[in-house]
């Protein structure tokens, strides 16, 4: 275990990426993720890495595609409006089966929106990060330490399954400072025989491509990709439980919403209400099974989110609407207060007339 250092979330993420072996960063300035780019612009030249400020978000994600095609670890970061622009490239990454890391430090939307924290890109990240049938690995840190750990994890999973990964963060995670341990752990080596390294006139050309005009073949490629996704859903789900052993009410929240919820749970417990939390760490793959199992032993769920009811849909799907799911949400850059969550806990606790 290395010594802990005090770091800002965005900078900790950037340093973690470097420790994970990422030597290529492409980005475009946008609040509130600028620290990632600024950090990379300082560090990369000193370690023979590449920092390049692209002419657009679109160019940045396509530069990412270029490096990813050569089999090297590469990343970009942006915030919500910029991520919309990257969607084309994200779809191509998925269609070309290329690993890469995309960081979304979310802000309020839609449109230009605001610059304060938000989770309103949940649907975009988990459902529609571009055209076509595909998934991103979506990891949601709830501390600066997780900004580090999940960055290592994201690079690893992306290479393991040859698919793009996204860190879905927000302005609070990016800006806050906490002590962190920067220990990358072991970096796994995966097969890269597909990478464009030049044939050296010794092998057949490698082709990175997402075009396929034969419908039977394109269907086969999609089905194969989804077989791989099934393995990810089986093996890579990450979540954390908090006080769930005897809980009657289960909060589901990620990122900053989970931190607020934890405070509210402590207060509610002090008042004798049995409430706990399941915090998804992977938003895709979503922790469906634990939620379904939990639905048999709680009387209600609460979705605490910084969006107008997006996460709640996955909770309802996962639990097959077996129990009521209440929504506690603030948007536009607002964050639910502990009391907002506490009020919703009390409301949920009255359901079914228990206690």
């Amino acid at each position: 275990m290395s010594d802990k250092v005090l770091m800002k979330g965005n900078e900790a993420l950037a340093e973690a990426a470097i420790m994970a072996g990422c030597r290529h960063y492409f980005g475009y300035p946008i609040t509130p993720q600028t620290e990632v780019a600024a950090y990379m612009s300082k560090r990369m030249p000193k370690i023979n890495g590449v920092f390049l400020q692209a002419e657009s978000e679109i160019a940045a994600i396509n530069m990412v595609i270029g490096v990813a095609s050569t089999g090297k670890r590469v990343m970009t970061s942006s915030s919500s409006p910029g991520i919309s622009l990257k969607s084309e490239g994200i779809s191509y990454l998925a269609g070309c089966d290329l690993p890469a890391l995309i960081v979304n430090v979310q802000r309020g939307g839609p449109g230009l929106g605001g610059i304060q924290p938000s989770q309103a890109d949940y649907f975009h990240a988990t459902r529609g990060a571009g055209h076509g049938d595909f998934h991103l690995l979506v990891l949601a840190p709830a501390s600066v330490q997780e900004m580090v750990n999940l960055t290592f994890k994201a690079f690893d999973l992306a290479e393991k399954y040859r698919m793009p990964a996204m860190i879905l963060s927000d302005g609070t995670m990016g800006q806050m400072m906490e002590p962190v341990s920067l220990d990358a752990g072991e970096i796994h080596e995966y097969d890269k025989s597909w990478a464009l390294t030049g044939t050296k006139c010794e092998r057949k050309p490698n082709i990175i491509n997402s075009l396929c005009l034969q419908p039977e073949e394109l269907e086969r490629l999609n089905v194969e990709r989804y077989e791989r996704y099934k393995i990810v859903e089986r093996d890579e789900v990450m979540y954390e439980e908090y006080m769930m052993d005897d809980a009657d009410v289960c909060i589901v929240a990620f990122g900053v919403a989970a931190r607020v919820s934890q405070n509210a749970i402590d207060k509610a417990r002090a008042a004798g209400i049995k409430v706990g939390m399941i915090r998804p760490i992977t938003l895709w793959p979503f922790p469906k099974k634990v939620l379904l199992d939990t639905a048999d032993r709680v009387k209600a769920f609460i979705s605490v989110e910084l969006s107008m009811g997006q996460l709640i849909e996955d909770i309802e799907l996962a639990t097959r609407c077996k129990k009521p799911v209440l929504l506690c949400s603030r948007v536009g850059g607002m964050i639910p207060s502990t009391d907002n969550v506490l009020d919703k806990i009390k409301e949920a606790d009255k359901i079914g007339g228990a206690n």
Partner: protein
Amino acid sequence: MATVFSKPEALTDAPLHYCPGCTHGIIHRLVAEAIDELGVRGRTIGVASVGCSVFTYNYFNCDMVQAAHGRAPAVATGVKRSDPNNIVFTYQGDGDLAAIGTAETVHSAARGENITVIFVNNAIYGMTGGQMAPTTLPGQVTQTSPYGRDVNTVGYPVKVCEMLSKVDGATYLERVAVNNVKNVRAAKAAIKKAFQNQIEGKGFSLIEVLSTCPTNWGMTPDKALGWLEENMIPYYPLGVYKDKYAESEVK
């Protein structure tokens, strides 16, 4: 028996899908010959674009990546920056390079990316069936300019070499044509120089190749070659628009 003419090694044996009389095939051959003659096939990585030339990844016998519409220079930037020893080229049409990918074109030139761009200008969108391109000539009839390109409503064609000649980062810009033997020979020399520049680390080279599209122009191949000579070359004059190193040698 002595072999006097053969297929370049940098081309695969895949049959080209291009329409009869289309000059893409000639340009493919010139690019492949340049790669062979410079001995760089084993470290060449090509970037295919969107349009008729999308399938170049099947034709060039080197590692290839297929980029989204207009994004080839950005993808090429990533490939080149990943390993500067790679020889990286893009092969793009006019819609790809001069419309949807204008920003990527201009900024890869501005950065002086050490890549080679082969820009095929046939004044029309071929793959989608003959729509007006950024390089469609004034008055030219296409599927989406059925009364002829009206510059008062849709504006003027983009002259890429002229535009990029004002970009400090660009190293070498030349416009060539492949409508007759003399021009094909000049095109070959220009393309080879564009690769040679990259090998020598000289920076961004773009060769604009005036090309025909008999199918969508609605002409026989022979007539199309004549139309290129009579209509395209006057609007898009051939020649070197920038040669940074020649300029410095003169000085």
